[in-house]
């Protein structure tokens, strides 16, 4: 009796979130799947998928999405790991960490517009270059500017999990490694890095998956020179009004994300939980 009542009470706590989940996550997903699998008059069809997989354009877009997401992730990782490592050695690490997190509280669009101001032909960077007699360069609307801004925006999401995993490592292990004859680099390579892999994986997830569907930056900074799946979905829903094809690409994007999550999941922690 008691336990049943307790269960009921627990279910009650779930109601607000459950309703939210149902209305704004599950229902849209079902709609998306339904749209992608039906014709205008509601019959089942795989035609949308046939169009997607039959067209070189969409496959190229998919490849572009994955490729640019990969590049963004790589750039953020190469910048973030040393940063997180350094941060972990500092005395007032929480303060410095806060400074790194701070930009994430500002709206994404605002930050993107700020970069337009910085990188445009009459922008700050070109003004600065002008001081040295360099004629204004076309910095915006290039692959490079797209990668720069995307990496800038994603860096905190990479630093944070890596920092956390580094902070969790017992400092005695690095001591033990040095004691056994390993120098600083060997210790980093053989002890610290393997032990921070869970944070690296979490960071890759947090950066790679959102990067697959970036679209505002591709337009505002990349000038639509890089067309990713995110851009394609936006085009289909807002411009060409082809919701069915848009939904299909959406479903494919979600599948790609799930695959990424499976590939980067933390096996070590799972197995230790099983043992515990």
């Amino acid at each position: 009796m008691m336990s049943k009542r307790k269960q009921q009470r627990q279910l009650f706590y779930l109601v607000p979130y459950g309703a939210w989940l149902l209305l704004f996550v599950i229902a849209p997903l079902v709609l998306l799947l339904f749209q992608s699998l039906t014709t205008q008059d509601g019959h089942f069809t795989l035609a949308n998928y046939a169009i997607y997989f039959g067209s070189g354009t969409y496959l190229l877009m998919t490849f572009n999405s994955v490729w640019y997401a990969f590049l963004i992730t790589l750039i953020t990782l190469v910048i973030s790991y040393p940063m997180a490592y350094l941060l972990n050695q500092l005395k007032r690490k929480q303060f410095w960490l806060l400074l790194i997190i701070l930009p994430t509280w500002i709206n994404l669009l605002l930050k993107t517009y700020a970069f337009i101001g910085l990188l445009s032909k009459s922008g700050t960077v070109n003004n600065f270059l002008g001081l040295w007699g360099i004629v204004p360069q076309q910095l915006l609307f290039s692959n490079w500017s797209f990668l720069l801004v995307a990496a800038y925006i994603e860096i905190p999401f990479m630093i944070l999990p890596i920092f956390n995993s580094l902070a969790e490592i017992d400092p005695r292990l690095a001591q033990a490694s040095r004691d056994l004859g390993a120098n600083k680099w060997q210790t980093l390579w053989r002890v610290t890095m393997p032990l921070s892999m869970s944070g690296v994986k979490a960071g890759i997830q947090a950066v790679f998956i959102p990067s697959l569907s970036l679209f505002m930056i591709t337009r505002l900074i990349g000038g639509n020179r890089v067309i990713t799946l995110g851009t394609a979905i936006e085009e289909h829903f807002l411009v060409t009004q082809n919701w069915r094809l848009g939904s299909t690409i959406g479903v494919i994007l979600i599948v790609a994300m799930v695959i990424t999550m499976i590939l980067t999941r933390d096996r070590g922690r799972q197995s230790s939980r099983k043992r515990g």
Partner: protein, 391 residues
């Protein structure tokens, strides 16, 4: 009696020979006036040590006494702010941790959780660039030494505390260190396992013949394992000596109190071989002090015997007793109100008045603020006297 005296002479002879060896050969590790301060906080004050190769040393003291600091200075995790640390006669103050010929067994083992037992032990040899076959031989040899041969493929989180301890020892020894540093390695183990590991560590040390520097706060452990003990407190070496010396002749109140159980009383040395405490005069074996010098008197609970009131040197009332397996621990109070700890073989009755007796050589005298050198010199002077008497 004659046989005993003969044996004593032999012991003395071997001891003195050992001393000569010390003086001629270079110590493997030497501290010359080493100090360490953080800002204004002096953690270690003017430490002098000389450790001979192949012996089992223990740094014994309560937490915060500086014993682990000394270990970290030897291993290179810390650098002294004053003085010199020497390894086989060369100053090594600035030699980095990884270039020193010593390895550490850490308090919480410090095993790499991302590697299995084999890879943990193989870490040192593989950093050295040994061949795969050599590494395998070395690891097998080490795991045999700590009796974990069957566990090579185990993950670290699958091991018990005692097994982790053994892996940590094997890993530290796999580098063939000349000195093994052990930072309270047994403190996390339960009583029985700790006893077992004490015995095994001692055996490993003797088998390998390398120098062990063992840090502990457990005086029993220190007495059982060591060739030589450094008793630390407040960043200062209070006393160093063989376990027997330190137990039998504590230099001051701290050492007497920290090592074993002690009854410590205020007394006055009326003359050589005559001490006054609890309102009475007692014959003893100490000499060389100023007439009527204020001293502290130490009597070990196991040196005291309960007897009839007439036969007792003091009369006490039994206040409390607890059974300790091989003896009864008795608290008794004398007529001056002093509390006495006594280890007795027979059960007593609480409230009973009994006599307390002890031999002259059971009375240990401690002078206030006597330096270790003065203490040693004084002890030597009248030990020579008593030997003469015996002869």
């Amino acid at each position: 009696m004659n046989l005993r005296a003969f044996l004593d002479t032999i012991v003395l002879l071997t001891k003195s020979e050992g001393w000569e060896l010390t003086n001629t050969s270079t110590p493997i590790i030497e501290f010359k006036n080493v100090g360490l301060s953080y800002d204004d906080n002096e953690v270690l004050k003017n430490i002098d040590l000389a450790l001979e190769a192949g012996k089992f040393y223990t740094l014994l003291g309560p937490s915060g006494s500086g014993k682990t600091t000394i270990l970290n200075l030897i291993s290179g995790q810390l650098t002294p702010t004053r003085g010199d640390i020497l390894f086989e006669g060369d100053v090594i103050n600035d030699v980095p941790v990884e270039k020193r010929h010593m390895n550490t067994v850490f308090q919480d083992y410090g095993l790499f959780p991302n590697m299995n037992v084999f890879d943990n032990v193989a870490f040192g040899p593989s950093i050295k660039g040994m061949s795969k076959a050599d590494i395998k031989n070395k690891v097998t040899e080490m795991l045999e030494l700590v009796k974990l041969t069957a566990y090579a493929d185990r993950e670290i989180n699958e091991l018990s505390g005692g097994q982790k301890q053994r892996v940590a020892i094997a890993r530290a020894l796999a580098n063939d260190p000349e000195v093994l540093l052990l930072d309270e390695p047994l403190s996390a183990l339960d009583y029985k396992l700790r006893k077992e590991m004490q015995y095994e560590l001692r055996e490993i040390q003797q088998r390998l013949g390398i120098t062990f520097v063992f840090v502990t706060h457990d005086q029993e452990e220190a007495l059982a394992m060591s060739d030589w003990i450094y008793v630390m407190n407040d960043g200062v070496v209070q006393q160093n000596g063989s376990p027997e010396d330190i137990y039998d002749e504590p230099i001051n109140h701290f050492v007497a109190d920290f090592i074993g159980e002690s009854n410590i009383l205020d007394g006055v040395m009326k003359a050589d071989y005559l001490v006054h405490f609890t309102g009475k005069d007692f014959e003893n074996v100490d000499a060389g002090m100023r007439p009527n010098e204020q001293v502290e008197v130490v009597l070990r609970p196991e040196d005291l015997d309960l007897t009839s009131v007439e036969n007792g040197k003091l009369v006490v009332t039994i206040d409390d007793q607890s059974f300790r397996g091989d003896y009864y621990e008795i608290t008794a109070i004398d007529d001056d109100g002093n509390e006495w700890q006594v280890q007795a073989t027979n059960k007593s009755t609480i409230g009973e008045r009994v006599g307390l007796t002890f031999d002259p050589e059971d009375i240990h005298i401690m002078r206030f603020n006597e330096s270790e050198d003065d203490f040693d010199a004084r002890l030597e002077s009248y030990e020579d006297d008593s030997d003469d008497v015996k002869a």
